[in-house]
Each structure stands twice: as structure tokens, then as C-alpha cells.
């Protein structure tokens, strides 16, 4: 029997507000342990939470971007469980009146659009961090992260493959980046994700036993874990086994999932309305005010690039994956460059550079007008394709305008005929055997001679011109 996976995702985003969800402590990452807390986020006796207004605004902004129905009245609840990273032993979260519900995210998959439904978006406070390595017998607690605002985005189980799950995450991350509400950095934990998967006979509509997978540290891990889990479950079902509903952990080294040690008791979170906070009425005015400030989103940008700039669907998708790509692209266009060559630079050299160095687009020193200048230098013939790549690399490394690089480095292509003439002469003189071979009809030695000429000119010779010159001289009968 063939099975199809049914996959859902829960994404937690730390909002990059200046302060925490319910107190004025900074919400930033990387401060010395236990230096970023106050009585409120530590849950000391007698303290009370007060909601950060920016969190509400950003929550609405995100909900609008996913086309959610926003609650008319939202409230907070206490989710109760004992854990040492949770100072109050309850988490202020949202239970039955979350910020938003019933949204969706559209994915462009090989020419078709897949709509993934968003079940709910809610706000909650983050917990502290436990460090287990420091000692054999003790666990260390750093409370800095306690109370940092989290936005949880829960999808319906609408994803049919690990690939779709991966695309969902990529698209979701792009949307969040465009909104500017989170840094979406999985290494720093500002984006975290759990997934759940069950299998069912292909074409069936009933759902199988849901397995939750945790400890996923990258989008790739999500993909691998889902692939593994689909295989594991299919094999078990094939053997006629019944799968338990359980939580499993992804083992990134062993590339497999392992059952999580089962807890002594079933979780009973005893949710009840948070009495220290009042309800929040979200009126139309607030929603439309936030809506007006909503930026263009990746899907809209993709459409615009295809329509206005005649880019292919693929190009448009790559360019809109990061907000910064789009800013570079459009900036270069404003500086006078044509769309396609700019797109090629971003999707080729820039993307390769980012991947090679593990950088985010925002981390690169690159101005849109520099890209325009580079395109212009190639167009005019001042730089050859190869030279341009070198210039591009230097531009990123030094953070300097290509115009300046060309000026100071004498990087201009040699187009002056006298100089090219001298180079060609020298090459032919130094390679009499090749010259003879050519004249015997082995015309492919031209490529070799070209290479020699470029080498001699330190790559500055205009390739077309030097090729013509060499050809011309070789074909001229020696006196």
C-alpha cells in the first residue's frame, strides 16, 4: 500500500521588540547570563505583567500578512506546568481567545499554487534557558530569555511532503522578514519549529496517529526528519504495526528520530484566564492603522517582478526570497541598470557568496548603485565577464564602489589597438609550434593562444578584440 504523509508545522518566533512581553527588560540576544531580568520577568512575589503595545501591533501585522481573522477581543491565559526555566511555573499564553485564527499562506510550487491554512496565531512569553553541560549534578539556569515575546504560528496539517514543509518554512520566513518583526535566526533561537506528521493510505481522508517531532535546528533538519519519519512510519504500517501518538526527538548526528522519554503524567496544563491582565479589544481602526503600514509581501513582489520587469517565475522567486534582495534589485534598477543582468548578479555571484560564507543578505556591504555601476562597466566593455567577477568579489570584501576599484586598480579592459597588437605579437612569437599547427588546420589551438594572451594581459585584454587580432594574424600568410 502507498501512504501519503500529512504534515503540520508549529513555528515560534521571537519578536524583535526593544523590550520583553510584559516588562521593560531588553529582549536582545547574547547578554551576559542573568543580566537582563527584573522582578517582573523573574516572577518574584507580588509583581504584575503589563503588555508591550508593540507586541500587539506586530502580532496584528503578522496576522494580517497571513490573511487571518483577527480576534475582536483577545485575552491571555495561564498554562501551568513546573519547569525550572519557567519562573512562575506557568506561562502566560493564549488559549481559547488567541490573537488570530483561520489564515493561510500560499506556496508557489513548480508552477502551481498550494494554499496552506493557518490554524491560529497567538502570543506568549518565552522561557529561560537551561544549560546542562556545565556540571555533572547541576543544571544551570539563565533567565535572560524569560519573558521575551513569542508569536506562535500553527498551520493546519495541509502539507503533503517534506519538500512542501520546507517550502512553507522558507516562505513563512520570507514573510516574517518582510514584516520586520523577527530576525528569524534559528541558531540564536529567534525562530523555532516543531512539526507533526502522520501517514494515511493514499487518497484516504482519515488521519493516522500523529507523531510530533521536536529538536529541529534548521529547515534542512525539518526536511530530513520528515523524510525519515515518513519512511519509518510507512515501514511500521507495512509490517502491520499500530503507531502510537507520541513525541519524538530529531537526532541531527544520527539522522534519525528517537522517542522522547515519556513523562510520568499526562500533561494537564490547567489553563485559566490570566487575572493579572485585562482583555484586549482589537477594533477596526487599530487593524486598519496597522494594515496601512503593511509592507509589500513576497508573493506580491514576485507578481510585480514578473509583470513589470519581465522576470521569469524562477528569478522572481529567488529575488523575493529575501527582502534585501529586492531592495538591491530595485535600487540598482533605479540607478539605471536593466533588470536581467542585475537579477543575474544577485542570483549568481551574491547568492554563491552568501552560501559560501554562511551570511545573511543584510550582513553584506553592498549598495544597489554599485551593482548598477558593475552592470554598466560590463555593458560599456570596460570590464570583461571574468574581470567583473573579480571586481564583484573585491567590492564585497572591501565595501567599495566598482567605479573606484576600476580607477585605482588599473582594472580597465585593454581595448586600445596598439597595446592589443603588441600582446598578440608577443604571444605568437612565443608559441611558434601552435602557430604552425594552426596553419596546418588545427584551428582549435586558438583557444590556447587566447588563454596565453589573457594571461599576458593579466586578464585585462578585451577577449573579443584579442581573439580577432590573433585570428587575423594567424591567417595572414607570413612574408
Amino acid at each position: 500500500m502507498t501512504y501519503e504523509p500529512v504534515i503540520g508545522l508549529e513555528v515560534h518566533l521571537q519578536l524583535s521588540t526593544a523590550t520583553k512581553l510584559f516588562c521593560g527588560c531588553p529582549a536582545k540576544f547574547g547578554s551576559p547570563p542573568n543580566s537582563q531580568t527584573c522582578p517582573v520577568c523573574l516572577g518574584l512575589p507580588g509583581v504584575l505583567p503589563v503588555l508591550n503595545e508593540r507586541v500587539l501591533e506586530w502580532g496584528i501585522r503578522t496576522a494580517l500578512a497571513f490573511d487571518c481573522e483577527i480576534a475582536q477581543v483577545m485575552k491571555f491565559d495561564r498554562k501551568q506546568y513546573f519547569y525550572p526555566d519557567l519562573p512562575k511555573n506557568y506561562q502566560i499564553s493564549q488559549y481559547d481567545q488567541p490573537l488570530a485564527q483561520h489564515g493561510h499562506l500560499d506556496l508557489g510550487l513548480d508552477g502551481r499554487t498550494k494554499r496552506v491554512r493557518i490554524r491560529r496565531i497567538h502570543l506568549e512569553e518565552d522561557a529561560g534557558k537551561l544549560l546542562h553541560e556545565a556540571s555533572q549534578s547541576q543544571t544551570c539556569i539563565d533567565f535572560n530569555r524569560t519573558g521575551v515575546p513569542l508569536l506562535e504560528i500553527v498551520s493546519e496539517p495541509d502539507l503533503g511532503s517534506s519538500d512542501e514543509a520546507y517550502q512553507y518554512l522558507v516562505e513563512l520566513k520570507a514573510v516574517i522578514e518582510y514584516l520586520g518583526v523577527s530576525t528569524c535566526n534559528m541558531e540564536e533561537g529567534s525562530l523555532r519549529c516543531d512539526t507533526n506528521i502522520s501517514l494515511r493510505p493514499a487518497g484516504d481522508s482519515a488521519l493516522g496517529s500523529k507523531v510530533e517531532i521536536k529538536n529541529l535546528n534548521s529547515f534542512r533538519a525539518v526536511k530530513l526528519a520528515l523524510e525519515y519519519e515518513a519512511k519509518r512510519q510507512a515501514a511500521a504500517l507495512g509490517r502491520g504495526e499500530r503507531l502510537p501518538q507520541e513525541t519524538r526527538l530529531w537526532d541531527a548526528k544520527g539522522l534519525k528520530t528517537e522517542p522522547m522519554r515519556s513523562k510520568e503524567e499526562a500533561a494537564d496544563y490547567r489553563y485559566f484566564p490570566e487575572p493579572d491582565l485585562v482583555p484586549f479589544v482589537i477594533d477596526r481602526q487599530l487593524i486598519s492603522r496597522v494594515g496601512e503600514a503593511l509592507p509589500e509581501l513576497p508573493a506580491q513582489r514576485r507578481r510585480r517582478y514578473q509583470e513589470a520587469h519581465r522576470l521569469s517565475a524562477y528569478d522572481a522567486r529567488v529575488l523575493s526570497q529575501h527582502r534585501a534582495f529586492g531592495e538591491l534589485f530595485e535600487g540598482a534598477l533605479r540607478a539605471g541598470a536593466a533588470p536581467k543582468p542585475v537579477a543575474n548578479w544577485i542570483m549568481g555571484e551574491l547568492l554563491a557568496h552568501l552560501n559560501a560564507h554562511g551570511l545573511e543578505p543584510e550582513e553584506v556591504k553592498l549598495r544597489p548603485e554599485w551593482l548598477a555601476h558593475l552592470v554598466q562597466l560590463v555593458d560599456e566593455g570596460t570590464l570583461s565577464g571574468k574581470m567583473a567577477k573579480d571586481v564583484f568579489a573585491q567590492m564585497l570584501e572591501r565595501g567599495v564602489d566598482p567605479l573606484q576599484l576600476v580607477e585605482e586598480g588599473g582594472l580597465k579592459q585593454i581595448v586600445e589597438s596598439g597595446a592589443l597588437e603588441r600582446i598578440a605579437e608577443a604571444v605568437l612569437e612565443a608559441n611558434p609550434k601552435s602557430v604552425a599547427d594552426y596553419r596546418k588546420g588545427k584551428t582549435n589551438v586558438l583557444t590556447y593562444l587566447m588563454g596565453q594572451a589573457m594571461k599576458r594581459s593579466q586578464g585585462k585584454a578585451n577577449p573579443q578584440q584579442i581573439a580577432e587580432l590573433l585570428k587575423h594574424k594567424l591567417e595572414r600568410v607570413t612574408p
Partner: protein, 483 residues
């Protein structure tokens, strides 16, 4: 002047004496501390008294106190569940032993701003769970009005009430979740006010039941209660549930005659438990009001007989959650966690050794009513009945300015009398609890005594944010009684 002569005075009397230059704040402090040193060992109104340290602390505060403040040089005694920066704040519980908050409660800040001297650590029932102060982990307080000191002062603010009644305090702050200010005020023969929910910031009040708790004054008369409330009331940006309602000049309102006001008289539940002495004293007080030109009308509070059941669902649910944080991880007491002890052992040992029996009972009750399968039948039902109780009051206050009823069904009972029967103890809160559920202000004022001299209090309740009505009526009544 005789020792204790100043300690027995009210805020308004002392303010006048200090303003005239007749006494200095230091004279007052000396007199009060000397009396505390002498009397506290038998009454045990304060925990942990170190007179020398108390003196140094108070003198340092006096040096920093703003001279123009409305409470300049006036010591105010603080219940052990209101955070005072750097001072041990334990809620009379072993589990918070040694906890010194690095912050002042908002009410403490406001008192300091007016020049008051903070006198911490009035005894209480552990975490305010109780009606007798016998649930203090550090020993009970005794009612100074009982001849042989064989009676409870009431609770949970029993230390605050006993201190004021025994002239070990000029005035005090307590907290009231189901009667914890009013009932001890009644048992000790003083004035106690539970303000409207949201009138006073709860920031820094160690939470018992967040939707019911309010801080309020325990004082020698209504005027002092008005003075203290005008200092501590008002919206606080640190408390989302504090109301943006302007604070009237309560003291000015004292002068207004209550003539023309209307008192509503409800049919009382639990008549079988109501002592004849209490009933007679309240009836007499009503007569006194009538002779002051106050009208009386019957009002119906048809759901108040359900108040105790409702209260013990809501209050324990919130308490079980609020007390989850006491686990020995971040502050306070942690049970020994030597080799072989797991984290779970630390949790279990710390909480089992750190909490007293009543705290455990309420945590268990609250956990039960919130747990899966029981939530709808208990907690949700309780919140719905709460709505009905609140509606009763809303309706009643369209027909009257204040409601009068006894504060407690009996005068102070004996130590140990109700300790073995928790439900019996809970039932003694029958008249105070509904004010917390409805969020309305309620003030207890002495209105007589039993034949053996135990004080009896009557309770005045008003519509939300109408505390001035209570002060006005209580003050006029006090004046009339004095003759």
C-alpha cells in the same frame, strides 16, 4: 507624657501635634517602639522584632522623609505580604523565609513619598489563607481586646489589626481577599477598609487571588482610613488591573453629613450562625443612622448565600497558580538537595516542607477545580455565579447608597476553636466575601461589644469607587456614638 500616650493617637491627631511642633517624629517613634518592645511579646502582632534594628531603620527613613508630606513622621505598619525593599517579606510562610524583595510595592512608594515611616512585618495567616492568624508559620497573634488574650484577632491581617488595637501601630496596611481586613478589624474593634477592586495598586502585594485581592488601611477611626486611602489609591502603570479613576479628596468628604443618603438592608444568609449580640449591635447602629437622617430600604442580594462556595473555587484556583512559583529555585527556602536528590525531589520537598497545612489545602483545592474534567463544573460555574452576585450588587446600588450588614457572624472566637474544621472556618467569612467577588468597597467600623467586652463590627458597602460614601457614613456614625 506617659509612655504609649502618643502610640495610642490617630494619624490626624499626631499630624496636628507634629505640625504645631508639640512633638517631633522622633518622640513619636521612641514612644511607639518602646511600647512595641514591651507589649509585642504577648500579642505577637509583629514578626521578628529587633527593636534596635527597627529604630535604626526608622531613623534612616525619617532623615529621608519629605517634611511637607501628608504623613511626615507617621509610622505605618505593613502586613508581611506587602513587599518592602530589602526587608524580609515572607507572608508568614516558611517557604519565603529570608526573601528580601529588591523592590518596594507601589503602596510603600506612595507612603514614603508622603513621609511615612515603614514598619514592616505584621503577622498574618500564611499567604493570607485564614480568618484567625493561627495559620502563621511563626506562631499566632492574640486579640489584645480579649481579657486573657485567649481569642484570635481574626485574619488574615490579624497582626495589622492587633497592632492598631493594642497601640503597637498608629495605623496599618493589610490585604483583603475575602474579608482579611474587615473581619480582624471587627474582631479587634478598629476600622478596616477593603477598597474597590482596582482602586489601589496590587504591585508588590504578594498575590493570593489576583482577581479578589486589594490592599487597604486598618486604622483607629474613619478619618485615618480616609487619609491613608487618599495616599495609596490611584492608577499605577505597573498594575494592569488598577483603574484610571480619579481619587477624590476623601478627607474633605468626611465633613459632609450623611443626611439624605439611603442604606439598603439585605436579608442575611446563615442566620442560624449569626450571634444575637452582633444582630442587636447592627440593628442599634441602623437606628443611629436613621436618627442622622439616613433612610433605610430593604434590598435583595439573592445570590450572596452562594458567595462562599463561589469564593472557594475562584480564590483557591488563582492561589494554586500564584503559589506555583514557590519551588525553591530562585528565592526563599529550598529543601536540602544533596546527592541522589532529583529536581522533582527538590520541588516536592521544598513545597511539602515550606507550606503549612492550610496553604496545601488551598493549593490542592485550586489545582483540583482547574484540572481536566473539573474545570467546567467548578471554575467556569463559579465565574458565572460570580456574575450573578455582581449583578445583585449593581441592582441594589441603584436603590441605595450603601448596604449595611454585620462584618462577621460572631465576635472573636477562641484560639484553636475552628482550627480542626476548615469548612467551619471558611463559613465565618460569610458576610465579607461577596464584596470581593463583586469588587465593591466595604468598610468595617466598630458598633458595639459583646457582654464579655469583645468588639463587634458592622460593615458598610458601597458601589464601586464610592469609598467617600463609606467614610462619610462611618465618620458621622463615630461622631454620633461618641456623643
Amino acid at each position: 507624657m506617659a509612655s504609649g500616650a502618643l502610640a495610642g493617637k490617630t494619624i490626624h491627631e499626631l499630624r496636628a501635634l507634629i505640625a504645631q511642633g508639640a512633638i517631633s517624629p522622633a518622640d513619636l517613634l521612641d514612644d511607639l517602639l518602646a511600647r512595641i518592645e514591651r507589649i509585642n511579646p504577648s500579642v505577637h502582632a509583629y514578626l521578628d522584632i529587633d527593636p534596635e534594628r527597627l529604630r535604626q531603620e526608622a531613623e534612616a527613613q525619617l532623615r529621608a522623609a519629605p517634611r511637607g508630606g501628608r504623613l511626615y513622621g507617621i509610622p505605618v505598619t505593613i502586613k508581611d505580604n506587602i513587599c518592602v525593599r530589602g526587608e524580609e517579606t515572607s507572608c508568614a510562610s516558611r517557604i519565603l523565609q529570608g526573601f528580601r524583595p529588591p523592590y518596594d510595592a507601589t503602596v510603600i512608594e506612595r507612603l514614603r513619598r508622603e513621609g511615612a515611616l515603614i514598619l514592616p512585618r505584621a503577622n498574618m495567616d500564611e499567604f493570607a489563607f485564614g480568618s484567625s492568624t493561627e495559620n502563621s508559620a511563626f506562631g499566632p497573634t492574640r486579640n489584645p481586646r480579649a481579657k486573657d488574650l485567649d481569642r484570635v484577632p481574626g485574619g488574615s491581617s490579624g497582626g495589622s489589626a492587633a497592632a492598631v488595637a493594642a497601640d503597637l501601630a498608629i495605623a496599618a496596611l493589610g490585604s483583603d481577599t475575602g474579608g482579611s481586613i474587615r473581619q480582624p478589624a471587627s474582631f479587634c474593634g478598629i476600622v478596616g477598609l477593603k477598597p474597590t477592586y482596582g482602586r489601589v495598586s496590587r504591585y508588590g502585594l504578594v498575590a493570593f487571588a489576583s482577581s479578589l485581592d486589594q490592599i487597604g488601611p486598618l486604622t483607629k477611626d474613619a478619618e485615618d482610613a480616609a487619609i491613608l486611602l487618599s495616599v495609596i489609591a490611584g492608577q499605577d502603570p505597573r498594575d494592569s488591573t488598577s483603574a484610571p479613576v480619579e481619587v477624590p479628596d476623601y478627607v474633605a468628604w468626611l465633613k459632609a453629613s450623611p443626611k439624605g443618603l439611603t442604606i439598603g438592608i439585605p436579608a442575611l444568609p446563615g442566620a442560624e450562625g449569626l450571634s444575637q449580640d452582633v444582630r442587636a449591635a447592627v440593628d442599634q447602629a441602623l437606628e443611629a443612622f436613621r436618627s442622622l437622617g439616613v433612610k433605610t430600604v430593604p434590598v435583595e442580594l439573592s445570590h450572596i448565600d452562594k458567595a462562599i462556595a463561589t469564593y472557594y473555587i475562584i480564590a483557591t484556583a488563582e492561589a494554586s497558580s500564584n503559589l506555583a512559583r514557590y519551588d525553591g529555585v530562585q528565592y526563599g527556602f529550598r529543601a536540602a538537595d544533596g546527592a541522589g536528590r532529583s529536581l522533582l525531589d527538590t520541588y516536592l520537598d521544598t513545597r511539602s516542607q515550606g507550606f503549612g497545612a492550610e496553604a496545601k489545602r488551598r493549593i490542592l483545592l485550586g489545582t483540583y477545580v482547574l484540572s481536566q474534567g473539573y474545570y467546567d463544573a467548578y471554575y467556569l460555574k463559579g465565574m458565572r455565579v460570580r456574575t450573578l452576585i455582581k449583578r445583585d450588587f449593581d441592582e441594589a446600588f441603584t436603590r441605595c447608597d450603601a448596604i449595611v450588614m454585620p462584618t462577621a457572624p460572631t465576635p472573636a472566637f477562641r484560639l484553636g476553636e475552628k482550627l480542626s474544621d476548615p469548612l467551619e472556618m471558611y463559613l465565618s467569612d460569610i458576610y465579607t466575601i461577596s464584596a470581593n467577588l463583586a469588587g465593591v468597597p466595604a468598610l468595617s467600623v466598630p458598633c458595639g461589644a459583646s457582654p464579655d467586652g469583645l468588639p463587634i463590627g458592622m460593615q458598610l458597602l458601597a458601589a464601586p469607587f464610592r469609598e467617600e460614601v463609606l467614610f462619610r457614613m462611618a465618620h458621622a456614625y463615630e461622631q454620633a456614638r461618641r456623643g
